[in-house]
């Protein structure tokens, strides 16, 4: 079973926002944004721009009909700046014109007098100045101080992980079409139907029932379209005021320069081991580079905070985290949502600790893997742990000790190139850490011809959630897949939907769909028994699109059943709701059960480093991933492969450079993501056999984010190779770009 959309993708007939034929009289909107990282707006003159050829209107904060706010967690982000600006790229005015070209020309006529103020670009500096979003978080588990006293080996230092641009192919965009009676319909490339629906109504100053947000599919999301209301509400505001359709689409370089990224983090770590290499204590301080507004950063930090112990049992731990307010565009969600950053630190700390002990890092990791009965630092006692099973399956496939020995032998024989390898275990909590978001609705309609339409709050962005929902519906109703169509995600059909993120799209919406289909099935079976005058209603079943009485049948087709039921006045439409049970978390005590279950995995990554040039190749990646009872192996395998390569990009080549004034210097010609030739020659993916998961739909497991963590393997394997050459410098930052690798090998000594 595949993602049905592919049949259209290969023909170019699948419609993205820009492919919806522009309605008659459609206008185009472009944002005028701040050229300074922090400043006071002394004056703003848009009159010349407003009078420019083809311009329909230029709006400022004064024109916002409702609330001038698009903050995601806190109300700290104006749609259009009022009297100050906090980052380069912050929207100040909105130009609406007959063409995008005309709107862009008019941008140059806006005069903004902004008095620059000192700005902060370092998260540690922001933290020291008390510039943080939300509260500092800290949890102490056990007694780390006395446990460190008992440690034989203590690895301590500072680490850094860099930002990552989503590089979804379809940039931020929306098309807003005004309707009768002050209503508006918005087509957007957006992951959060419920939240954006609410933002739209607030900005326009109208009730939510007058706003319809419709989402067919996204040309990639990866989290980058979860909290980005600016680019949806801005064209909607223009359309609402002008009573004309308005489209806004960011250019690629605008998107890179002004939208949020994966957060860079800085870390202080201290990892203590006993003589056998068992972790006794871990201390980790997280400095999250959040940007000018809170956006969704505190939630991302929270997830890092919950995943700092990685796949390991840590009996004594202190963790702290702050979301640092700096003058760059607000960072946001990106596949993994803080888990890659949280996991990175302990994985890198193991590299350091293994050097102190003189054993391979993977040997230490294996000894410390989570087992059934272990308690996580926030109080969850684990069951059904597959960490060791994934590790053993990987070992069986690759022979880890042999691979380590082969790399060592190679390195003894070669001076100009070096091999490095790393094993990365994955333990990833599934559910929104924010308990309230773990809910979903589904509306299932059966029509008199037997065709079925399913609407949910899930957004399709290539991850195949619609295909999975279709499988659940067809399986539950007992009909062929072709009878089921998954509708657009629309706030008028399924209200108040949570974002499609946290890998929960299929878990939550699939379960709601299952509930709705179960109720319809029961209703139809009851009707069928009556209609067929069955003595034993329990013996009636629907399978393969037919009605069976016991083993006899099909006695009636699904289509006839639907028509007959409707004629007999049976309701063929059902809405159902699912809320993940038994989730709770107390922010005061930092204890609770935030996740329904955990996804596990293990991978081996091997690299070859060219010592003279600092360049490298990722030679092999072998992954074992726990997908439960996969709803679609083709889809889940694709999710693993895609996530791993995104992770490899984060760990190696993806980097953003900023000018001293905070401007993003890296455009599309310099921001490089993996291409087909970068992908390892050997790239093996195995889904763990015989995994069961009673906590998600049809025993499946979430797959979107967990495999991203395997990408850390490239960082760790390159570090392994680099440390094989010299260890007189600190462990390098992530990503290990060719420049970083080169300078680690050939650059000046530290302190020079």
């Amino acid at each position: 079973m595949k993602n049905e959309d592919m049949l259209m993708h290969v023909r170019g007939t699948s419609r993205f926002v820009d492919d919806i034929p522009a309605p008659e009289g459609c206008l185009h909107a472009v944002l005028f944004t701040s050229p300074v990282a922090r400043g006071k707006i002394k004056s703003l003159d848009v009159s010349k721009a407003a009078a420019a050829p083809g311009v329909a209107a230029v709006y400022t904060h004064k024109d916002v009909p409702g609330l001038n706010q698009v903050g995601h967690i806190f109300k700290d982000q104006p749609l259009l700046a009022v009297d100050s600006v906090e980052y380069i790229g912050q929207p100040i005015a909105l130009v609406v014109a007959q063409s995008q070209r005309a709107a862009r020309l008019a941008l140059k006529l806006i005069k903004a007098d902004i008095e620059p103020l000192p700005a902060v670009f370092s998260p540690r500096e922001a933290a020291a100045k008390g510039l943080i979003h939300g509260k500092r978080r800290e949890r102490v588990t056990g007694d780390p101080a006395s446990a460190f006293a008992k440690c034989k080996y203590v690895a301590q230092g500072k680490l850094f992980s860099g930002p990552q641009e989503h590089f979804y192919f379809e940039t931020q965009r929306a098309l807003a079409v005004p309707g009768e009676h002050d209503t508006i319909k918005v087509h957007a490339s957006a992951q959060s139907p419920g939240a954006f629906h609410h933002h739209l109504a607030e900005v326009l100053g109208i009730p939510m029932h007058k706003v319809e947000l419709d989402i067919r599919r996204l040309g990639g999301g990866f989290g980058g379209k979860e909290s980005t209301a600016v680019w949806i509400t801005a064209p909607a505001m223009a359309a609402f005021l002008l009573k004309r359709p308005v489209k806004l689409a960011l250019g690629r370089n605008e998107d890179i320069a002004t939208t949020g990224k994966r957060h860079a983090y800085e870390y202080d770590y201290k990892l203590g081991l006993d003589a056998e290499g068992k972790i006794l204590a871990y201390e980790i301080d997280l400095y999250q580079h959040a940007g000018a507004c809170a956006d969704i950063s505190p939630a991302v930090l929270g997830r890092s905070f919950l995943h700092v112990s990685g796949s390991y049992h840590v009996p004594n731990m202190r963790v702290s985290g702050v979301s640092c307010r700096t003058n760059i565009p607000p960072n946001n969600a990106f596949r993994g949502f803080g888990v890659p950053q949280g996991t990175f630190a302990i994985e890198a700390a193991f590299t350091h600790a293994a050097e102190l002990m003189g054993v391979p890092a993977e040997e230490l990791k294996r000894r410390n893997l989570l087992r059934d009965g272990d308690t996580l630092p926030y109080g969850v006692k684990l069951e059904l742990v597959n960490a060791a099973r994934c590790w053993e399956a990987l070992d069986g496939k690759t022979g880890l000790a042999g691979r380590r020995a082969a790399a060592a032998a190679y390195n003894r024989a070669h001076t100009d190139t070096k091999k490095g390898l790393a094993v990365v275990p994955v333990c990833f909590g599934i559910s929104f850490a924010q308990t309230a978001l773990n809910q979903a609705g589904a509306l299932v309609n059966i029509y008199v011809d037997g065709s079925v339409a399913v609407s949910t709050g899930a957004v399709e962005m290539g991850q195949g959630v619609n295909a999975k929902i279709r499988i659940v519906a067809a399986r539950t109703l007992g009909i062929p897949l072709e009878r089921v169509r998954v509708e657009t995600t629309n706030t008028s059909r399924v209200p108040n939907a949570s974002p499609t993120s946290a890998s929960t799209g299929a878990d939550l919406n699939g379960m709601a769909t299952k509930y709705a289909c179960e109720r319809l099935r029961e209703r139809l079976l009851e009707f069928a028994a009556r209609h067929l005058s069955c003595d034993d209603p329990a013996g009636v079943s629907i399978r393969d699109g037919g009605v069976y009485v016991g083993e006899k049948g099909p006695v009636m087709s699904w289509e006839k059943l639907a028509a007959a039921a409707q004629w007999a006045r049976v309701d063929l439409s059902e809405h159902a709701f699912y809320a993940t049970p038994n989730l709770h978390y107390d922010m005061e005590s930092e204890q609770g059960r935030p996740f329904a279950y955990y996804s596990y995995g293990a991978s081996l990554t091997e690299v070859t480093l060219d010592c003279a040039r600092g360049t490298y190749t990722v030679d092999a990646v072998e992954v074992v991933q726990d997908a439960g009872e996969s709803l679609s192996e083709a889809i889940d395998r694709g999710q693993v492969e895609g996530a791993v390569v995104q992770g490899l990009g984060w760990a190696t080549m993806e980097q953003i450079r900023y000018a001293a004034d905070g401007r993003v210097l890296t455009g599309v010609n310099a921001y490089k993501i993996p291409d087909i030739k970068f992908v390892p020659k050997h790239f093996g993916v195995t889904l763990l056999k015989d995994s069961r998961n009673p906590f998600a739909v049809c025993n499946s497991k979430a797959i979107g984010e967990p495999p991203f963590i395997h990408g850390l393997g490239a960082y760790l394997a390159l570090t392994d190779a680099l440390r094989g050459v010299r260890r007189d410098k600190a462990i390098p930052p992530l990503p290990v770009t060719p420049e970083r690798a080169f300078m680690y090998l050939h650059g000046p000594e530290e302190g020079e």
């Binding site: 592919m6 023909r11 290539g462 490089k672 993996p674 291409d675 087909i676 970068f678």
Partner: protein, 464 residues
């Protein structure tokens, strides 16, 4: 008036020749299958095929980035977008992408379909490695490429027996369902079209590929008179005359790279020019355009500098010849006057025993601009001393640099000399901190690359 065949339809338009094809097909023709995702030729989502009828009647199809392809450049051609592959039965490439689940969000997929289809139509040989080369400009953010590689492998297996020359392959490809039947009638239909001759106005902007020009100033080009060198078949040649290779000013990077003449005399360039850019850009960008673009980091320039190339510059008053090493006057400033054009690049063949090497380090190995690049040509006398030494360096100054190394002539290229040459290179380098790397990095890297020139077997051993 421009005329070309767009898919199965004849198109005549009065739109400005500088309008890029992507905009034309999406906004004018309402064909939305071709996607816009970067507008700089960096992603491949807008890939289309451009077919040109050859004098013998055969067709040559090439995959190109339509975001950097002005419609004036496809006058008289057959342009194929994803809609032109037919809407009914899936083509073989489309079917294999579906079979292998090689598409997720789908935004890059039409471009991948066209690059692979272009590969089937245009590749000399059907091989998996060739298919991957053809996809080197098609970025996908979702799949991780494993499934795309599987689809490409399956495609090559299906077409395994197809050994005809590209121009003779069309009927077989129609038979295998790679392209629809109407492709068969295209050469005859194109023969009916009369493309307008190249514009001759003195102040016309010369478009020699345009893959950088249309990144730098697309708006301006929409209002300028343009002269397309693709309409100058007289400048499309690669030939050897005596001891030099002569390359016409309209020769594309890919045609140069794969030219039998180039392969014979400079076999290493086929590999080195793969690093220049992606297939969808190499198919359009020209060698002369790359030189005139005057990027201090252009791969072609750096290679040609070491090879002691000369430019033939044609102007109103006849033509003159300028050594490439004298062509660059300052950052993006060249010795090319208004109304002049580089009509030919003259590359001396390697003297017997001379050795050549090219080094490039970029953040991503393929389809990326170098942090530093460098090329070497060195000759030694029978007693092993250096008689000729040319090392070029890019990314370390405002212009592509030819290092001053005359003092090493007469020395043996032993370890001490190589070390001294590397130090001299570092000494001449004046890099700046920029998006390609820090100044300190580039300076040190140049030294390493110079040492690497002498370490590669081609230098230690026989000619390239």
């Amino acid at each position: 008036m421009l005329s070309f065949i767009l898919n199965d339809q004849l198109v005549s338009t009065d739109e400005h020749p500088g309008m890029v094809l992507l905009e034309f097909v999406r906004d004018v023709k309402c064909l939305s299958g071709t996607k816009e995702a970067c507008r700089e030729g960096e992603c491949g989502a807008c890939t289309v095929l451009v077919g040109r009828r050859q004098p013998g009647g055969g067709m040559v199809y090439k995959a190109c980035a339509s975001c950097l392809l002005p419609i004036g450049d496809v006058d008289g051609c057959h342009v194929v977008t994803v809609e032109g592959l037919g809407g009914g039965t899936l083509t073989l490439v489309q079917q294999l992408i579906v079979d292998h689940s090689a598409s997720q969000c789908g935004f890059c997929t039409p471009g991948i379909v066209l690059s692979l289809t272009g590969f089937c139509l245009g590749a000399e040989k059907i091989s998996y490695e060739g298919a991957v080369d053809a996809l080197d400009g098609n970025i996908c953010r979702c799949t991780g490429y494993a499934a795309i590689r599987n689809a490409a492998r399956a495609l090559c297996e299906k077409l395994g027996g197809m050994n005809d020359a590209p121009a003779e392959r069309l009927a077989a490809l129609i038979g295998s369902g790679v392209v629809p039947g109407y492709f068969g009638g295209i050469p005859a239909r194109l023969a009916q079209l009369r493309a307008a001759p190249a514009a001759a106005a003195k102040d016309a902007v010369l478009v020699a590929g345009g893959t950088d020009l249309f990144v730098q100033r697309p708006e301006q080009l929409m209002e300028s008179e343009l002269c397309f060198l693709s309409k100058r078949p007289d400048l499309d040649y690669v030939r050897v005359e005596g001891d030099v290779l002569r390359v016409g000013g309209a020769v594309t990077i890919e045609d140069f790279r794969l030219s039998p003449t180039v392969r014979r005399h400079f076999p290493a360039l086929e590999r080195d020019f793969l690093l220049h850019s992606s297939a969808i850009l190499r198919n359009k960008a020209t060698l002369a355009g790359n030189v005139v673009n005057a990027s201090p980091i252009g791969d072609a320039t750096i290679i040609l500098l070491a090879l002691d190339a000369r430019l033939v510059i044609a102007g109103e008053k006849g033509s003159r010849e300028v050594p490439l090493s004298k062509f660059y006057l300052g950052y993006k400033k060249t010795d090319l006057a208004c109304g002049e054009l580089v009509s030919e690049i003259v590359i001396p063949l390697l003297p017997a025993g001379a050795r050549y090497s090219f080094e490039k380090v970029s953040n991503r190995t393929t389809l990326d601009i170098a942090a530093v690049n460098s090329a070497l040509r060195v000759s030694t006398s029978p007693d092993g001393t250096i008689t000729d030494l040319r090392i070029s360096a890019g990314g370390v100054a405002a212009v592509p640099l030819l290092l001053h190394l005359d003092s090493f002539k007469g020395r043996k290229p032993d370890a001490a000399a190589i070390e001294a040459i590397a130090k001299a290179a570092e000494g001449e380098a004046r890099p700046i901190d920029d998006i390609r790397g820090s100044a300190a990095y580039k300076k040190l890297l140049l030294g390493r690359l110079v040492r690497a020139h002498f370490a590669v077997p081609a230098v230690a051993g026989e000619a390239v």
